[in-house]
């Protein structure tokens, strides 16, 4: 199968599974890209994740970068379109009937039931991204300290990122 077709099919399916946003399907993107298709190494995946986060905009540019890595500009466009088209179509169709069900018990149960799965998936994403650098103890310490700082203090998340970049530049990671 041509890589463009694989990209389109893989991301079109993930689009409809991205309950809780694209961050929730990053572990599956990682599995497909690194383990199944070998489109990128573990370390390259984490780098793409970082570069995607450096751009403004919605949290889905990782998909654009993976398309770029696999098949250049056509790959980037196909991957992006595949990631947004199915979920956007679904949203468009559902928006019309949404108001009617706002207090329905089944809707509240679905919302409450999907929430913990989304949380588990986001934590899995953080785990895989942190591990992807294949750094040593210093890298794990950076991940742990960043997590604790952001959870328990009101520090601007940019500071640990800048500090970690400098530590990397100094050759400590």
């Amino acid at each position: 199968m041509s890589p463009l077709v694989s990209l389109a099919l893989r991301f079109a399916v993930l689009s409809l599974l991205a309950v809780g946003g694209v961050t929730a399907v990053v572990p599956e993107v990682h599995r497909v890209v690194v383990e199944v298709h070998h489109w990128a190494s573990d370390a390259e995946f984490t780098q793409m994740f970082v570069i995607a986060r450096a751009a403004p905009g919605p949290n889905m540019l990782l998909v654009t970068l993976i398309g770029w890595q696999v098949a250049g500009l056509p790959g980037a466009l196909v991957a992006t379109a595949a990631m947004v088209a199915p979920s956007c179509t679904l949203t468009y169709l559902v928006a019309g009937v949404w108001q009617r069900f706002r207090t329905a018990r089944w809707r509240l149960a679905i919302e409450a039931g999907l929430a913990p799965i989304a949380v588990g998936l986001v934590i899995a994403t953080g785990w895989l991204v942190a591990r992807g650098g294949h750094g040593g103890a210093v890298a794990y310490a950076i991940s742990a300290v960043t997590t604790v700082l952001v959870v328990f203090t009101r520090v601007n998340p940019l500071w640990p990122v800048v500090a970690a970049g400098l530590l990397g530049l100094l050759g400590a990671v």
């Binding site: 946003g21 403004p56 654009t64 509240l108 149960a109 949380v119 953080g126 991940s143």
Partner: protein, 183 residues
Amino acid sequence: MATSEPPPRVTLAELYRGFFHAGARGVGGVLPWARRMLVEERRWLTAAEFTDLFSLCNFLPGPNTVNLSIVVGARFHGVRGAVTALAGMLTLPLLTVLLLAALYDRFGAAPGVDAALRGIGAAAGGLVLATGVKMAEPLRGRPRALGVVLVTFVAIALVRWPLVPVLLALAPLSVLIAWVRRA
């Protein structure tokens, strides 16, 4: 609620511009900027309308702010409005990330770049972990929901099972738990 006010008239060009700005300023997440643009600056939605629409966008799959552009665009101009708002929001972010990718292809081999990105990658992992922990906060006192969090994490991150079978198994179970809890 002020239902007496007529809904605002918004042109396609205004939709494009509004979402272009929200996307362009969305460093660290588009959501706060989108809300500011829609509710405070341009007043296309009331605060209550925004909350209601956003809960829909969060509930459906896909990036929630992308979904938001679809819902708001559709509200004013149907399919054309949805496509216009989406295009507005994605234009600058897509160009930026492709530029960054091109720069990385050109300069990524420089030793400093790789080393700095390794450090930043470790921190980025920590940021996402922190987001997950914060998202888990409302689940405190719900041991079964926390159990679902744990099982999801182990199956996906440690065992590395594919997402589809994990979701097929866990989602109905977790929804059932929530259903029974509400009974």
